[in-house]
């Protein structure tokens, strides 16, 4: 039987199963194959807060969504074309997102009475009519796997564990993914347990063959490689890109990296990643809490290191007092906030953009800090370097606002040439700067307003800094009222004067009436939505903020250029508040705070409504 091959320009797949089913690994492997094949892609992992929620329950469902295409894409996609549901819970939890007509590959072996009951299915949905509007492929994945592995010296339980590889094989066949990589991967991963390696490979191949031979699948699909900018690519998640960005920042600033951090979801992986790279002279310090994490980073900065602390919202709240100390002592420091759904503990594994105003204002006194927010997983790399550039040049703590969506999502990354990376190094001060040969630790640079950075070990520049207000120039303790006013304004002016690039507006024909703006991780969905609008002949301009403080110099002008400005945010209007206050522009907010990224379709609708209104 020769099967039909259909060409598609894009596909969205979602693997869903129990926490223990290995869906993240399956997704990762499919992603790797897809990347290797040359599609553009974007991924969205989604896992429960529990380590292992009880098997078969709704809270235990873990999923991985992958969007790949023959052109450049911007998001992990709104609605899957295919759902792989390893059990009834996975089906139930994900069906709502699945457009009618799309494919469901369900592991019938797990649709037992007990499992169905666990999630409240009265009848087996694979057997009644309830799924008639979808194309259901009922596959006994578990038993097929066990069968395929009969010749192996494995317990049944161990054999069953390979069912995710069977599913991966099947999907790889379905979408013409290359297979060598996965086989090599499995060989390496289980290098010490060759039997397991072989079994997994066998399961993978059995899945492939199953697709090839059975009649359950009459069509397979091809998605041509995308025409991406030439270069060397790898797939990378936001957290990994951010960690690499910090390493690059250390190299490019010629400062040893010191990370003081306390584990917290979804930021911990940055700590994990950095702790692997000690050969770069990186010190990672797992502190007793967030305050110690930032404190140690600040202490290291005083000693001449590139001090970094990584955390999520609750940790930023705890670090506030110490960040304030960094503001007055005017030392470089990077605070990475991988935002998650709040308030309080909130939903640790879900994404949100609700820490912007905390980053701006969450400290006592007037204590301005620059804020940079990456707009995609890859951009985490560049944003980290940019944050470091600002921190080092202006001697200031910098907030770097990533989020859960960027952190765990991934996409192909065109590797930069190291030689193209900016040199962000600054000289330490080594000689006195006062008129009388004395050292003035608070004498500012005329252009940047930065104070000198003289580190211990430098003879003749011994000085003392601290959190009490300091006299301009000498840095001695000062309670003088006018000095305080001057210092408050100088610190503000320094941050306000940071050189950030102008806002770029994407408005191809320069005739849009509506400008859609955003910041951080909403870039992809907004841009995708605008593509839809334009595809339908509509007009909308887009501009995206990577610098939240200071704002680009042309912001006011850009905002005023359009009849309407729409700002979707995954919060209740935080950037909108800043822009409205600053420019008195009646920014229209669109806010959903569901712990999930926006969908392009949803935003397209919102944009269209704004275009159409009055």
């Amino acid at each position: 039987m020769t099967k039909q091959v259909q060409q598609l320009d894009r596909v969205i797949i979602r693997f869903a199963g129990d926490s223990g089913d290995g869906m993240q690994l399956t997704g990762d492997r499919f992603t790797a194959g897809t990347a290797e094949f040359g599609n553009d892609l974007s991924t969205l992992p989604n896992f429960p807060a529990e380590i292992r929620a009880p098997a078969g329950t709704l809270p235990g469902v873990s999923s991985f969504q992958l969007h790949f295409a023959d052109h450049d894409i911007l998001t992990p996609g709104d609605a899957p074309n295919v759902l792989v549901a390893m059990n009834p819970a996975a089906l139930k939890a994900n069906l709502g997102d699945l457009p009618r007509g799309s494919d469901i590959i369900a592991n019938t072996d797990e649709f037992t009475k007990r499992n169905l009951q666990k999630v409240g299915y009265a009848a087996n949905p694979l057997e009644d009519d309830s799924l008639s509007e979808w194309r259901v492929h009922a596959v006994p994945l578990t038993s097929l796997t066990v069968k395929a592995l009969e010749g192996f010296d494995l317990s049944k339980k161990d054999a069953e564990r390979s069912k995710n590889m069977f599913a991966l094989g099947l999907l790889s066949w379905l979408y013409h993914r290359p297979t060598e990589h996965t086989i090599k991967f499995l060989e390496q991963k289980f290098a010490k347990k060759p039997e397991i390696a072989k079994a997994n490979i066998a399961a993978f191949q059995a899945g492939w063959n199953y697709g090839e031979t059975t009649e359950s699948f009459s069509v397979s699909y091809e998605v041509k490689p995308a025409q991406l900018t030439p270069g060397i690519y790898r797939n990378i998640s936001g957290n990994q890109a951010l960690a690499y960005g910090l390493i690059a920042a250390s190299v490019q600033s010629k400062l040893p990296l010191f990370l003081g951090s306390y584990p917290i979801t979804p930021a911990s992986d940055i700590l994990h990643e950095l702790s692997k790279h000690k050969k770069f002279g990186i010190r990672t310090f797992q502190a007793e809490d967030e305050i110690a994490g930032v404190g140690a980073a600040l202490g290291a900065a005083f000693g001449g290191a590139l001090g970094v602390t990584t955390t999520s919202g609750p940790g930023v709240a705890l670090k506030a007092e110490t960040v304030g100390l960094a503001v007055t002592t005017e030392l470089p420091l990077i605070i990475v906030d991988v935002q998650r759904a709040g308030p309080s503990t909130g939903m640790p594994t879900k994404t949100e953009q609700t820490d912007l105003l905390m980053a701006m204002f969450g400290r006592n006194g007037e204590s301005p800090v620059p804020i940079v927010a990456p707009m995609s997983p890859c951009d985490c790399f560049d944003a980290a370097i940019e944050a470091a550039r600002i921190a080092v040049k202006y001697r200031t703590p910098v907030m770097l606002l990533s989020d859960g969506y960027l952190a765990n999502g991934s996409e192909p990354w065109r590797l930069p040439e190291v030689s193209d990376l900016p040199d962000i190094s600054q000289e330490f001060t080594t000689t006195p700067n006062g008129d009388d040969g004395e050292f003035l630790p608070y004498k500012r640079d005329a252009e940047t307003l930065a104070r000198p950075w003289a580190i211990p070990g430098t003879a003749g520049l011994e000085h003392r800094i601290g959190g009490i207000e300091k006299a301009d120039g000498t840095g001695n303790i000062s309670y003088d009222p006018d000095n305080h006013d001057l210092m408050v304004r100088s610190r503000a002016a320094k941050i306000a004067g940071i050189d950030v690039p102008d806002l770029e507006v994407d408005d191809p024909d320069a005739d849009a009436k509506v400008l859609v703006i955003g910041w951080g991780s909403t870039y992809g969905p907004i841009a995708a939505a605008i593509r839809r609008i334009r595809r339908n002949g509509g007009k909308a301009a887009q501009a995206h903020f990577r610098h939240l403080n200071p704002l680009p110099a042309n912001t006011g002008e850009v905002l005023k250029r359009y009849d309407k400005v729409l700002l979707p945010e995954i919060n209740l209007g935080q950037l909108a508040l800043l822009l409205r206050a600053r420019y008195l522009v009646d920014v229209i907010s669109y806010n959903r705070v569901r712990g999930l990224p926006f969908k392009a379709e949803e935003l397209a609708g919102v944009i269209q409504d704004v275009i159409d209104s009055d």
């Binding site: 270069g231 060397i232 690519y233 010190r283 404190g295 140690a296 202490g299 003392r464």
Partner: protein, 348 residues
């Protein structure tokens, strides 16, 4: 595996060849404690002790928290960081961990170290970062004008406890030993010689050293340590701890108790060889801990000196070793190599 570990105390800190004196360590800042404050004596003792170390002045850093005592760094002509309340051990940890070539000191008060900063302190001790932590214990909050502190005695009447405080105080020595400290000592502001002898041992120790200094706050808790200064009784109640020496005061001696612990008895009732000989280097901290309990009831007898001083890898050295090992195993970091390190593919 590297020579780093061979370094004791401040051996990694560059030495000066200039002759230093007390005045080299005085800054130009006016000292602003209350007249009569015990902090003056400690400052003078430290300023006159530092030259003895023969270190490059620029490689010495004093980090403090907030409190009267935490003003200390301003008065020393070294690098200094007057930070925020309770966080000095954390800040100093980052500094010391990344700069093994510095002599890093932490100056802290009983509130700063044991109240808001208690956690950072105990973690710094167990980690054994190379810090000299001087805890100025005046058993009161000085800077905020006289509230009771975690070392104030039960029943203390202060502004915030007009009917007397309820909480049992910490014994900083017991707490530090319970927190796996490798070096723990106690001294007193009024005895410069003893204070300096303790500093000498603390600086010779590589790792975290906690030195509790009984300090008089003559404004809010005057005479808190009077018995130790009173010529009538001080020699009787002060048990001097010296490694290898029997633990005695003028009239008392520490011996093993029948119960299995230790106790203080009249010195003339026991023979020399019954008296406990102090072993500061005992890996088991149990006896050092037992010694720290001898001050209950308060001031009946008070051990001073080095309770415990044992060698253990120092945090920043171990950290540096791992970095060296990583380089040895994999070569120095190369950014291009890192970026190219995953599964890559080429387009175009």
């Amino acid at each position: 595996m590297t020579e780093l570990l061979n370094g004791r105390g401040l051996s990694l800190v560059p030495k000066t060849d200039v002759k230093q004196g007390l005045k080299d360590f005085k800054s130009d800042q006016e000292v602003r404690w209350c007249p009569g404050c015990g902090d003056y004596a400690i400052l003078a003792a430290v300023q006159s002790f530092l030259p003895e170390l023969g270190l490059k002045r620029e490689n010495i850093v004093f980090v403090s928290g907030i409190g009267c005592s935490s003003r200390f760094p301003y008065y020393l002509n070294t690098y200094g960081f007057h930070s925020i309340h309770g966080r000095a051990p954390a800040i100093a940890t980052g500094l010391a961990a990344s700069r093994p070539d510095l002599s890093v000191w932490v100056i802290t008060g009983d509130g700063d170290a044991l109240s808001i900063g208690g956690n950072h302190l105990i973690h710094a001790l167990r980690r054994n970062v190379n810090l000299n932590i001087l805890l100025f214990n005046n058993r009161i909050y000085g800077l905020t004008k006289g509230q009771y502190s975690p070392t104030s005695e039960v029943g203390k009447i202060t502004k915030s406890t007009p009917m007397g405080s309820l909480d049992k105080p910490f014994n900083p020595i017991s707490l530090a030993i319970g927190a796996e400290a490798s070096f723990v000592a106690r001294t007193i502001d009024s005895d410069r010689k003893h204070l300096q002898s303790v500093l000498r041992e603390a600086t010779a120790h590589r790792g975290a050293s906690l030195v509790e200094i009984y300090q008089n706050c003559n404004i809010f808790n005057d005479n808190a340590f009077e018995p130790l200064k009173d010529p009538e009784v001080r020699d009787d109640i002060t048990l001097r701890l010296e490694h290898g020496q029997p633990i005695v005061s003028a009239s008392k001696a520490v011996v093993r108790a029948a119960s299995g612990g230790i106790e203080v008895v009249a010195r003339d009732g026991v023979s020399e060889d019954e008296i406990l000989v102090h072993d500061a280097h005992n890996p088991d901290p149990s006896i050092a801990f037992a010694l720290s309990r001898l001050d209950e009831p308060a001031f009946e007898h008070v051990p001073i000196g080095v309770f415990r001083s044992v060698d253990r890898p120092s945090y920043e050295v171990a950290m540096a070793e791992q970095m060296e090992e990583a380089v040895q195993q994999k070569g120095p970091g190369d950014l291009s190599e890192l970026l190219l390190g995953g599964d890559t593919w080429r387009i175009g």
